[in-house]
């Protein structure tokens, strides 16, 4: 009896405490998701008003369209460039700095430092390095004599190098984050594990692959998932460094850029934007499910 009355008595308090959060989450997360699904089968005017349903076939049309498939491929390539390289570099740096030596704090600070850069800050630093007329590399005579592409047409303007250039900027910007995570993972590996492997005669590389890597595999899984979802949502780099270009190949038009980019072909078509956004949602969901399932079995969570 007492419990039942308490359940009811606390309703007003619960409503007061949950209400504000609930209102915001519904208005700005759940409603827009549902609305985007609906909008994805509509056609609106250029202002995004007066929308009319044109049928769910619009989703199939988007999936079949060259633009969407191209953007998806660009995004996948971008992830395949940034995630493995970024992870390998982060692990390498963390292992390098995982030793009690004088001055190590100094190096760790430097290796973590790029976490302080926002996407705009990092991208503009790299824009100044790579830009073909006012950029640093383009104004080093000896360098662009060896690699003419730096000046003509420029690493960001050549369809062969643009995505790699954006990728390197993004790897650099994420390196501090990866380094900090992997370092924390390494520090949670018990020292005795290393010592007993050492006594058993395992060499440095053996100890790394057979002891360290399995023990930090939960950290590696988490980092991979975060880096992959960041790669799939990358926008600022493309917006600032390449504007989705170079044209006409649109070499850096990722899915997110296709939805929101200022030079995107669908920027004035709310229906198509919503459809692509919903497809991105489905892709990201499938991707993280896949990653947890695929890696989950091989990840060692200890006892």
């Amino acid at each position: 009896m007492a419990i039942k009355s308490r359940r009811l008595r606390e309703i007003p308090l619960a409503m007061a405490m949950l209400g504000p959060s609930l209102l915001v989450l519904i208005t700005f997360v759940l409603y827009p998701l549902g609305k985007a699904v609906w909008l994805g089968q509509q056609m609106c005017d250029v202002q995004g008003k007066n929308c009319k349903s044109v049928g769910w076939g619009q989703y199939t049309n988007v999936i079949k369209s060259d633009q969407f498939q191209h953007a998806l491929w660009v995004t996948v390539k971008f992830a395949m460039i940034t995630v493995p390289i970024g992870l390998a570099l982060g692990v390498g740096l963390a292992v390098l700095a995982d030793k009690q030596l004088r001055g190590m704090r100094f190096f760790r600070t430097i290796f973590s430092s790029t976490i302080a850069t926002s996407v705009a800050v990092a991208s503009l630093m790299w824009l100044f390095l790579l830009q073909p007329s006012v950029g640093v590399l383009a104004n080093l005579g000896w360098l662009h004599n060896i690699f003419p592409v730096i000046k003509e047409p420029g690493l960001l303007n050549d369809s062969g190098t643009a995505l790699w250039s954006v990728g390197i900027s993004s790897i650099w910007a994420n390196l501090g984050f990866t380094f900090i995570l992997v370092t924390a993972g390494l520090q949670s590996v018990p020292k005795e594990m290393h010592e007993s492997a050492y006594v058993d005669g395992a060499g440095g590389w053996m100890r790394f692959t057979n002891v360290t890597l399995p023990l930090i595999s939960p950290t590696l899984l988490f980092t991979t998932v975060v880096l992959t979802s960041r790669a799939f949502q990358a926008y600022g780099e493309m917006d600032l460094l390449t504007n989705g270009g170079p044209i006409p190949q649109d070499s850096t038009t990722s899915v997110t850029y296709l939805i929101y980019g200022s030079s995107s072909i669908i920027k004035n078509n709310a229906g198509l934007q919503a459809a692509v956004a919903v497809l991105l949602f489905v892709i990201l969901l499938a991707l993280s499910a896949l990653q947890f399932r695929g890696f989950g079995k091989r990840v060692h969570y200890g006892s």
Partner: protein
Amino acid sequence: MALDTAPKGWRSFARYSMLTIVALFILFPVYTTVIAALKPGNKVLDNPLLPNAFTLDVLKNAWTGGRLGRYLMNTTIVAFIVTSVQLVTSIASAYAFSFLKFPLKRLVFGIFLSTMLVPLEVTLVVNRRTIDSLGWLNSFQGLTVPFIATAFGTFLLRQVFMQIPPDLREAAQMDGLGHWGFMKEVAIPLVRPTLGALGLFSFLASWNQYLWPSLITTEDDMNTVQTGLRHLASSDLDKPNLIMAGTIIAAVPILIVLVVFQKQLVRGLTAGAVKG
């Protein structure tokens, strides 16, 4: 393996050399940015790798003419509002899920849970329309309100609240301690370290937002630091030293915040990654 058998002195020498080379690579873009920002316009492209001239005028010019001062103020206001309101809403909802009894609790919890699966990029198409219809384009409401509650913060705090034994709440109730008192005396002190990490994270996330402000800001007066840099880069590409000065001004406050709150940063980053 070769390193393992080498004498100790050589091993640390090899390690220090590698550490130094890597550090130089990582700092290279920062170095070129800093020296460019400290050079007058006619010297920037002369020798982009050497600090062959020095002036503070460009930084001053970026602050006033480039309007970085204004952008910084906007971003600070936005980040403080988002962070502080987010902490309050997260505490309130985490407390309700942990210590209150009410019908449909599991359903409401499920609603919170489901929002964590929805990436920002998916919702913004519609959110821009919502903000537009509320008349909130180019306003602080538009920049802040969509982010003043998060399921992530709620879950993080709830996890800590759940460690409080239910008996303790019962006992406190017997002693006449109401929810408000229990929250103030027991619950909040317990989550204080987590609040620090959560606060830092909300602050960084809000400060670094790029896509959302670029969608709802069209007036220069309402630019945040991130969209302001974009504005600067597109209007003054012929003045790379000015853009680099703006970049430095935009980066320094976060650098300071991170140095001061190092401990919270690592705690927050590793909360999801390292377990057991």
